[in-house]
């Protein structure tokens, strides 16, 4: 097909846009059901210990209350079933502040909420492990094999002989995902079959985890999740709410809705952990890297391990003969950390790309030049060739578009009124992968027009999966987008990968594309004819007057993909204004230039990138969840205290994509953009703040007090 006729590559509007803005797109608890009951969770107010006594009698007597469920009467569940974060009401043990310890089920949400306040709990407290600053002085080795020390060449010891050195420690705080839609579940039992309406980034993952935890077979559980109000990783793995809704529904014999409040989100669905990262770089006077060490201390739950891979960017970004990446961890009485947008890469790149900037200043070298000088020919971590790498292109095209030449080298020399102006740059990367997925295409002929339905248990976080799959099918079948409907977000559909780790677009689109190719072949075979010019699926349906036809196919990454190292890359450019009196920072301009292979829809892709940029700016300037170590509780429990950036904090955002064709990671050449959009952003902003003020802030967020 000619490019101009293709739907892929066009920035068409979201096909579900109208449904969303008219309120017709149903999210998890929007589905109507008869005889609904409402469950409200209540939580522990200590961080470590045991429930000595729990008195629910007053709550049970409260008007409208159907049941109060605690560890004393909850059914036995399988805690190893694949849910994250525990808190399944299986025992009186408390391992973190805010652990669910029970729920009230009532006729209305308000009654359940009021009654939950009447439950009286007595605890036996244990001393809690929660003071990260103290605990980080004696960290442990992580259990995960992939987190063992990674040494190349002489490791860190090469630092001793380097002519120029940077050795600094960078800190990033706990952050929360806070999707617009807090986690919520609606559970309906029909006999032994259970339907769970629940925002799920991985539909089949949610299905198997719910089934295993509830001691059911997967076929007994159906997950429905066509629309998700954001997740950012917190709806990748699933949490207790998914099955507790089912438990409540079973116990009261009615459909149950369970929705977390914003305050409950702080200790129910994971978080991005706090990291202390030491970066040591040794280089020649000419700016050639000799050694690069990235030593990370982080925390995890007391009973389960998740550590975000902060060293991942460092592994592959620069050509360096000697390197070390190490992880240490402290178990804490805090909810299990989890995947959070750009896991490890966003926080890790803050450390790495700040340190590179510091090195550039020490060398008196343009930070872009320094990066280009250390561009690796192969993946330094495994010696594999790149399937493609766009770092240099992103830096060069971005520098031109952004007006990097307007940057003044000397920090604190660009002043307008009370404001210092600064420019910063930082790079990022994220792996490109395709995961196994299946899809069904159903074709129907009506009034000489062919209509297609695409079925796949994919998920749409709000990022545009519906739209890009319609575009993929439109091109694969030669049917206008308007004649395609996309069914996703339902475990009854063919199994698929999830919208996690930037595998969604490539896995889903390739599955749909393969199904289109297959159905075209099958229609051709069915016609029994030979054609000079191969007809499209649509033409065959019409010419053969086929009323209905369908096929199903399964797709995997190409066999050769593993022989290469495939990643998306970006370069981020920030311009900041820092008020010299108050220390308040505004990002006046931000440009992200991304090489992410084929861009299926530039409009939804741009939204993804600038969304990532906004969170990255939040990471740089405003977002921080603070724990009070005396109680183990968050002292920042609402949006009045947890500051996401506001419109006034951010001026012009722009996203550019470099032209890149790379069909090694997958046939369609899609690399994924969801994660990479946040990687390198915080460092670009922090570097710009340094350029503006001469103050190097190594501990995020950069709040006004740090710049006084």
């Amino acid at each position: 097909m000619e490019d101009s006729k293709k739907s892929i590559g066009k920035g068409i509007d979201r096909i579900d846009g109208i449904l969303k803005i008219t309120g017709k797109a149903n999210y998890a608890t929007d589905y109507p059901a008869k005889n609904m009951a409402y469950a409200v969770l209540f939580k522990s107010t200590i961080a470590a210990g045991e429930i000595k006594k729990i008195d629910t009698s007053e709550a049970e007597r409260y008007p409208g209350v159907l049941k109060v469920i605690t560890h004393e009467n909850a059914p036995k569940l399988n805690p190893e079933g694949g849910l994250r974060g525990g808190a399944l009401l299986q025992s009186p043990q408390i391992t973190f502040h805010g652990q669910h310890i029970g729920m009230v089920v009532a006729e209305t949400f308000e009654q359940a909420t009021a009654a939950a306040h009447l439950v009286k709990v007595e605890y036996t407290k244990k001393s809690e492990k929660i003071d990260f600053e103290k605990l980080a002085q004696t960290p442990e080795m992580p259990k995960g094999k992939e987190l063992a020390d990674l040494v190349r060449g002489a490791g860190k010891s090469a630092l001793d002989t380097a002519e120029v050195k940077v050795e600094e420690t960078y800190e990033t705080p706990i952050e929360h995902h806070h999707p617009m839609e807090p986690h919520s579940t609606m559970a309906i039992w029909e006999g032994e079959k259970l339907t769970l309406y629940n925002g799920s980034q991985i539909i089949n993952g949610a299905q198997s985890a719910a089934a295993a935890t509830l001691n059911l077979k997967s076929e007994q559980v159906r997950i429905v999740s066509p629309f998700i109000g954001g997740g950012f990783g917190s709806k990748g793995g699933q949490w207790a709410n998914l099955v507790l809704a089912a438990v409540a529904a079973k116990m009261v014999g009615r459909p149950v809705k369970l929705a977390l409040t914003r305050q409950q989100m702080f200790n129910s669905v994971g978080l991005r952990q706090r990291n202390i990262q030491k970066l040591s770089i040794g280089a020649t006077k000419e700016g050639k890297l000799l050694t690069l060490a990235h030593e990370i201390i982080s925390h995890t739950a007391v009973d389960s391990e998740y550590i975000e891979p902060c060293g991942d960017c460092t592994k592959i970004m620069y050509a360096v003969p000697n390197s070390l990446i190490s992880y240490r961890v402290v178990p804490m009485n805090l909810i299990l950390p989890t995947y959070t947008r750009g896991p490890g890469k966003s926080t890790g790149s803050f450390a790495l790309e700040s340190a590179m900037d510091e090195l550039a200043y020490k060398l008196n070298m343009d930070p872009i030049e320094l990066r280009i000088k250390n561009e690796p020919e192969k993946d330094p971590s495994n010696g594999k060739p790149w399937s493609s790498r766009t770092t240099v292109k992103c830096l060069q095209e971005g520098a031109k578009a952004f007006g990097w030449n307007m940057r003044k080298l000397g920090p604190g020399t660009n002043k307008v009124g009370d404001d210092f102006i600064g420019y910063g740059v930082a790079c990022g990367t994220y792996p490109a992968r395709q995961r196994e997925s299946s899809a069904i295409i159903k074709l129907k002929l009506k009034d000489r027009k062919v209509y297609a339905t695409v079925e796949i248990a994919a998920s749409d976080l709000g990022t545009g999966t519906h739209t890009i799959l319609a575009q993929t099918a439109a091109d694969g079948l030669s049917i206008p987008v308007e004649q395609i409907s996309v069914k996703l977000g339902d475990s009854d559909l063919p199994p698929a990968a999830g919208s996690v780790g930037s595998v969604g677009a490539s896995s889903f689109a390739n599955a749909v594309n393969d199904a289109c190719t297959k159905i075209t072949h099958e229609l051709l075979a069915k016609s029994g004819k030979q054609f000079f010019v191969r007809p499209t699926a649509a033409q065959l349906m019409i010419s053969e007057n086929t009323a209905e036809f369908e096929t199903r196919s399964n797709s995997k990454a190409p066999a050769d993909a593993e022989k290469f190292s495939s990643h998306s890359f970006n370069a981020n450019f920030a311009e900041v204004r820092v008020n010299g009196i108050t220390g308040m920072v505004k990002v006046t301009r931000f440009l992200a230039v991304t090489g992410a292979g084929k861009i299926l829809n530039p409009k939804t892709a741009r939204s993804q990138i600038i969304g990532g940029n906004v969170w990255g700016i939040g990471m740089a300037l405003t977002e921080e969840s603070v724990i009070d170590p005396r109680y183990g509780n968050f002292a920042t429990r609402s949006f009045a205290d947890y500051h996401v950036p506001s419109n006034l904090d951010i001026g012009n955002l722009d996203a550019m994509f470099v032209n890149e064709q790379d069909i090694i990671p997958n046939k369609m050449g899609v690399k994924g953009i969801g994660e990479v959009g946040i990687v390198g952003v915080a460092a670009a902003v922090a570097n710009a703040v340094f350029n503006a003020t001469g103050k190097r802030i190594r501990s995020l967020p950069i709040t006004p007090d740090k710049l006084l």
Binding site: T45, E110, T113, A114, H117, Q263, D418, I581, T582, G583, M584, K586, L621, T622, V626, D628, R630, Y631, N633, A635, T636, R637, S638, A640, D641, H643, P645, S646, N647, L648, D649, T703, P704, D705, L708
Partner: protein, 326 residues
């Protein structure tokens, strides 16, 4: 949320009578603060008396100055031509607070009575003397970055959050209230209280008293005034430090100054020492700096908010400079 009765008052007298009868009743203004506190189980009224229909919405000039109806919305107050041209510092302070949506709902009376944003106050699993007298102050040795540097006691170190009230303090406003027996007027400096031994009390109203209006005397600050707010993000955040400053100048001599600070104390902090120092002085950076230093000398920081002393000084000087520029 605890169940409550909801009554819409039709007259001022009815509202006052009904509230005075029930110790657990509360007035409902715009609800932007009270409803949040109810959802968090911090405020537990069993009866809400909606005063939204009362005719206390007028903003007008009076013989001595200006009168702002207690039920006029924050947005309408900030945008009123009388306020914009005669009390620009007040207009700016209101617009520096909350978000457009909240200001559209919020009333002037409710704004004055909004409660502290101390996060321990909002979290019922934490000790807090303001919420539960005698339970202790979690912020004193806790996360107190947002907290007070002036006038705090070991029973409470919270700050009062309103921006609007900071300008009102600098403008020497008075608060008009009605109780079941009479009307009375309270000087702004006596309206909000320091925590002392009774942090559960924010202000000097007695139960049942209804704010009817805020009155502002005529002043000579309109050409030289400023409101500067430093916060963690550029909008929709409470002040780390804010300063309202007005200068009455003749030539470059300061006849009088009206200065108040926000984000530093349990009440809008009138910078009386700085005002006193500036009286009769030449309006120069050197004098502004000295005034700021004199004022800030009385500050006492907590473990997480030492920066507020330097930030307070800078913001004071900055606000005075901006006021001078006009």
């Amino acid at each position: 949320m605890k169940p409550f009765k909801f009554i819409s008052a039709t007259s001022q007298e009815q509202a006052v009578t009904m509230l005075s009868k029930n110790a657990e009743a509360a007035y409902l203004g715009g609800g932007t603060n009270l409803l949040d506190l109810m959802k968090e189980h911090v405020a537990l009224p069993n009866e809400l008396i909606d005063i939204g229909n009362l005719k206390l919405k007028e903003i007008k000039a009076t013989t001595g100055g200006y009168s702002l109806g207690a039920l006029a919305k924050n947005t309408d107050t900030a945008n009123h031509p009388l306020v914009r041209s005669n009390l620009p510092m007040l207009s700016k302070s209101i617009l520096a607070g909350a978000s457009a949506q909240i200001r559209n709902m919020a009333t002037n009376g409710g704004n004055l009575l909004q409660r502290t944003r101390c996060s321990y106050f909002y979290d019922i699993s934490m000790p807090c003397n303001k919420r539960v007298p005698g339970s202790g102050c979690a912020a004193l040795e806790g996360f107190n970055r947002m907290h007070a540097i002036f006038g705090w006691s070991e029973h409470c170190v919270a700050v009062y959050p309103s921006d609007m009230a900071v300008a009102l303090a600098a403008l020497n406003a008075t608060v008009k209230v009605q109780n079941s027996k009479a009307e009375r007027t309270i000087a702004f400096r006596d309206f909000h209280l320091l925590p002392g031994n009774h942090p559960e009390r924010d202000n000097s109203l007695t139960h049942g008293e209804l704010i009817t209006a805020i009155e502002i005397p005529k002043n000579n600050f309109s050409t030289h005034s400023a409101y500067v707010k430093v916060r963690d993000r550029n909008s929709y955040a409470f002040a780390l430090i804010s300063v309202a400053a007005g200068l009455h100048l003749s030539g470059n001599i300061i006849q009088s100054a009206g200065i108040a600070m926000g984000g530093v104390a349990h009440k809008p902090w009138r910078a009386l020492k700085a005002e006193e120092f500036l009286k009769g002085k030449v309006a120069t950076t050197a004098n502004f700096t000295e005034a700021a230093e004199i004022e800030m000398a009385g500050a006492k920081a907590l473990s997480h908010n030492k920066f507020k002393i330097e930030m307070g000084k800078r913001t004071l000087i900055n606000a005075l400079e901006m006021a001078l520029k006009g």
